[in-house]
């Protein structure tokens, strides 16, 4: 440990891993998707609308087909005008009696694969449910586009890249608090003041990452959930556990005797970690409602990420951030060690 933190190979490789992952996190394009359906007009038996795509390749792709469908019925485009790579004008002939009012808009071409806007269009007209089976499109193999990309999600859009910035802040914090938990136990077992220094340094740097996590989370929430702070159990849990850890430093300052201070704060650090785990993991998973993915019944990012493309970048980035956090921790710890030696000297 003492030797490892003075070596530089892991610091350099950690930064390189982080830099590589962040390059991918920023540069990888978003998957193509349907941004919106606009200018829906309906006259007699024809429907016309404008389809706006995102990162799509309408100009260069071949075999472009557009249709609307619900469970069993589909109606293909009669007129299809390509304006540019992301704009299409579409005209569709409708039957007199519709199977339903709500249709999904589906698009297929050889570069973008199959894109869909679920329940993306509302059509006025007489409805009579029927279970006919009219597939108007032919020879369409539902495919994925072929290049490396980030999943396209409505609401999230480009902010899905934040997964590689915001989430690893919490992973780094969890790593450091877990570390402090272990060193606090080791201090109580061995009474070696070095472990006390480690606990202090780890919690100190964990606070830096907690503040980064809270503030980046607030910014991300503002533009996806609509508010800087929401009534989310994981959010409040994170705030409470950060406050619990801040109280650790107050506890240390209020005790003058070094041995007593170290022992008391080690016990507190152990409890703080347990509370941290309860507030950040246990309570959110028991809550009835949460906005965070992967808590309660929410889909997690894993479900968006069918082929595991996000996962590779995310894990590399997380590893890089954790190494960076450990580096900052090691600096803090070495400073505390020098300070302790100086005090012993005097």
């Amino acid at each position: 440990m003492e030797k490892l933190i003075r070596q530089s190979w892991w610091k350099i490789s950690g930064i390189l891993v982080l830099a590589g992952a962040l390059l991918f996190a920023m540069k990888t394009p978003l998957s193509p998707g349907i941004l919106s359906i606009e200018k829906v007009e309906q006259a007699e038996q024809t429907l016309s609308f404008e389809l706006i795509g995102y990162n799509s390749h309408f100009m260069t792709s071949n075999g472009l087909q557009v249709w609307i469908q619900n469970d069993a019925h589909s109606y293909c485009s009669k007129d299809l005008e390509i304006i540019d790579d992301s704009h299409l004008l579409i005209g569709i002939d409708l039957p007199e009696i519709l199977p339903s009012n709500l249709f999904s808009v589906v698009l297929n071409d050889d570069i973008d694969g199959t894109l869909a806007s679920l329940d993306g269009i509302f059509i006025k007209g007489n409805v009579e449910p029927s279970d006919g089976n009219g597939k108007c499109y032919e020879q369409v193999k539902l495919t994925e586009h072929g290049y490396f990309s980030m999943p396209y999600r409505t609401i999230l859009y480009e902010t899905i890249r934040n997964l590689n910035f915001h989430v690893p802040m919490w992973f780094a914090m969890i790593f450091l608090t877990l570390f402090s938990f272990v060193t606090a136990i080791l201090y109580l077992v061995k009474s070696d003041p070095r472990y006390d220094d480690m606990t202090v340094a780890a919690i100190h740097v964990a606070m830096l990452f907690a503040i980064c996590g809270l503030s980046t989370g607030a910014l991300w929430a503002r533009f996806t959930w609509g508010a800087f702070w929401t009534d989310d159990p994981q959010l409040n849990g994170a705030a409470i556990s950060t406050l619990i850890y801040l109280a650790y430093f107050m506890l240390r300052r209020s005790v003058n005797d070094p041995d007593k201070r170290a022992r008391l704060s080690a016990v507190y650090a152990i409890f703080a970690f347990i509370m941290f785990y309860v507030f950040l993991k246990v309570i959110p998973s028991m809550a009835e409602f949460s906005l965070h993915p992967d808590t309660t019944d929410n889909p997690s990012f894993k479900d968006y990420d069918i082929e595991g493309k996000l996962k590779i970048v995310f894990r590399t980035a997380t590893a890089g951030w954790i190494i960076l956090s450990f580096w900052i921790f090691s600096l803090r710890y070495r400073l505390l060690t020098i300070e302790r030696k100086r005090l012993d000297h005097e």
Binding site: R6, I15, L22, L331, I338, R342
Partner: protein, 68 residues
């Protein structure tokens, strides 16, 4: 270390000054200027890295003084 900082800044500036109209500039303007954002990110990362590295060496020297 300050010299090294200066050197890196000069390197960056010289890149942009000499880059007018050539491949480098074209590259920075391509794909919605995402490369400009990536360069900013990497400059920040590089400077943080250098700062930590400098602090690391300084602490190393202090440790050596205490141990000797």
């Amino acid at each position: 270390m300050n010299k090294m900082l200066l050197l890196i800044f000069m390197l960056f500036f010289s890149l942009f000054i000499s880059a007018q109209g050539n491949v480098m500039e074209e590259y920075m303007y391509s794909s919605g200027k995402i490369w400009v954002a990536i360069s900013v990110l990497f400059l920040i990362l590089l400077l943080i890295f250098m700062y930590l590295w400098k602090m690391d060496k300084k602490i190393g020297r202090m440790e050596d003084e205490f141990n000797s």
